[in-house]
Symmetry: C3
Subunit: 262 residues, 3 copies
């Protein structure tokens, strides 16, 4: 049984996610559909890219990830399907795959990209405003049913890639950026375990706030304490134990952090 995951900025009220599932199940009745997130901030491609690349490695081979964050729907942006290592992506060609693709390339796996241009695999009527329903859902369902990528479109080699901020070395450590705030208020940065390796973090500076408690689990400090630790996917994060660090510190994505190491 194939798995199709769905990630959108549609929210859960309007029924549009349900409609995509109806379209998928009409073509591929046996598929398992998993919601990854439908609360991506409206039109926020970077946020969807971040959530997708963190989640994809935990899904089995042949999983098809449909992502519809699509400010260019109805314009000439290309509809895309791709194979990234052992899994698939279906969605607009606007950079959504960037972080996942970097990960795939770092692991030495191959990727293939196809411009979706075979309307026989779409709904009969295609609107200018909802390709998630009219193109991406039926394409994913046909892929799950055994249609090959190369039947769904024409091979291309230049999918859109977005620039993501990289951390930089400083005299006594690193300068990075806040890249995600999760629902607990954990502040995720773009500094990763691979950057710091055996370097020991002594202080994290976020605007004028100094945090000096480095822990390995939230429960290592009492509630209310600000701590620094690695997230479950390897990013350096700043948290308040049993609290909401993002709210307390009024942090937003893009803010600078300084890390001092020894």
């Amino acid at each position: 049984m194939s798995i199709i995951t769905l990630t959108t900025d549609f929210g859960l009220k309007d029924g549009n996610v349900g409609v995509m599932k109806g379209v998928i199940l009409a073509i591929a009745p046996e598929v398992q559909i998993v919601d990854l997130s439908h609360q991506i901030s409206a039109q926020n491609i970077l946020e969807a890219a971040f959530i997708l690349h963190r989640a994809a490695p935990y899904f089995p081979d042949d999983t098809i990830h449909v992502v519809v964050v699509d400010p260019g729907v109805g314009t000439d942006r290309r509809p895309l399907a791709a194979r990234l290592g052992p899994q698939y992506f279906v969605g607009p060609d606007n950079g959504l795959i960037t972080l996942w693709l970097i990960h795939i390339e770092e692991k030495g796996l191959t990727a293939e990209f196809f411009h979706l241009d075979q309307p026989q695999y779409w709904l009969d009527e295609v609107s200018h405003v909802f390709h998630g329903r009219d193109i991406f859902s039926p394409v994913a369902a046909h892929l799950a049913s055994g249609v090959l990528l190369r039947e769904l479109g024409t091979a291309i080699t230049n999918p859109v890639r977005l620039e993501f901020p990289h951390p930089e070395r400083t005299p006594n450590g690193w300068r990075g950026e806040v890249v995600y705030l999760d629902s607990f208020g954990n502040i995720a940065t773009n500094l990763r375990f691979e950057h710091l390796k055996e370097q020991q973090v002594t202080t994290v500076l976020l605007d004028s706030v100094r945090i000096t408690k480095m822990v390995s689990a939230f429960g290592d400090c009492p509630p209310g304490e600000l701590v620094v630790l690695y997230s479950s996917t390897g990013n350096l994060i700043i948290s308040e134990v049993n609290g909401n660090a993002a709210q307390r510190l009024c942090v937003k994505v893009g803010d600078t952090i300084e890390v001092i190491v020894k």
Copy 2:
């Protein structure tokens, strides 16, 4: 494998949607359950009717749509099951099917209605406050398992129908109403493609705001622009490109719009 969709005003926190799924799967373990929406505004039958009738056409034949927006639960309002063309409805008889039924009748399809009065297809104990769990979920599951509609209840011919506002002609166009605000802040009106046909919209007036950009896709204008276009289900909508028109214009459902055509 049958599909059962669920639409409620329960929200997703309290576990009541999960309970309905438990009840369904205990009777029909192989069914595919799809959430259409659980964020209908509390007791808002019109809103649920709007979301249901937009979504139903995208589901395969024999899909069973369970809708529980039920301010009259425990009173003498009838529990209902219906066949609308090739699909099914299960829920309270309070008008939830109105728009979908109009659509079915316009297409010349048949519909049948049954007052659910056979408690052997319900849970053993039926509360006065949660028929979604005690009556509608088990009935839908039995229907998915092959029980016939006429075994579940007694045929009736007078399901409750609600009045929905119709657009009216004006000397230079149409007067309509706002009928739905979606999670992107798109403002959907009750003016549809079928009303306007080859008439060309030149201006939309919403209170004192004039909108004159008619586009076919969101990306046809720069971010921040107010535009008018057709939604993916054929309603005339007012949108802000990459923004939230409903918030910006302080619009609410029921507000009047004027459309000038040439």
Copy 3:
């Protein structure tokens, strides 16, 4: 086909619930996964316990309930699997099962508890911050696939139990507590049908508000009226017909209520 339910305080935005489903489906592709709630207030074990014990009885035998509200993740709190009557629990040993276990014991059913200490049933890498993904999801999937509880861990007899407030008799009735506010604003108390039995409630006092309308269904009084009735799971609740009693009365969990009976 086995059922696994998921209850967490993760919210639905960050993709972490989807990741748990990916992990489960990689091990047990045929399982039915049901979301019970992912909007438990952060770290609120009592709230999760309340939602779990209300929902579990409606699921079929052998259902596996995974609950991840886990402020102690990464510390020495034990990971737990349990059999409670005919169903299973998997999650941290922090009291989440308390109310459900009381219910099981009252019904004279047996329960067994196992400290999860067999890492061969976990993901290869176990983080200090996300045991929902690394331990509880794979354990639940192996349990669904036929691995026995005693293979997953070591039997224990002292799972953590939390104290929940009990209602007390007063000269003319009962004194209880608000234990849950649902998404409709219904105010659930810890006074239950079993306490009151044939006693007739004449008045409920909540701070300085007196409520004297006792009804059996919401629709028995006109919109806006404050009423007292039994919830679908047997708790005495205070509601505003078609309104939000919790907001109107500024109630919070833990507030005292007085019930006068005759």
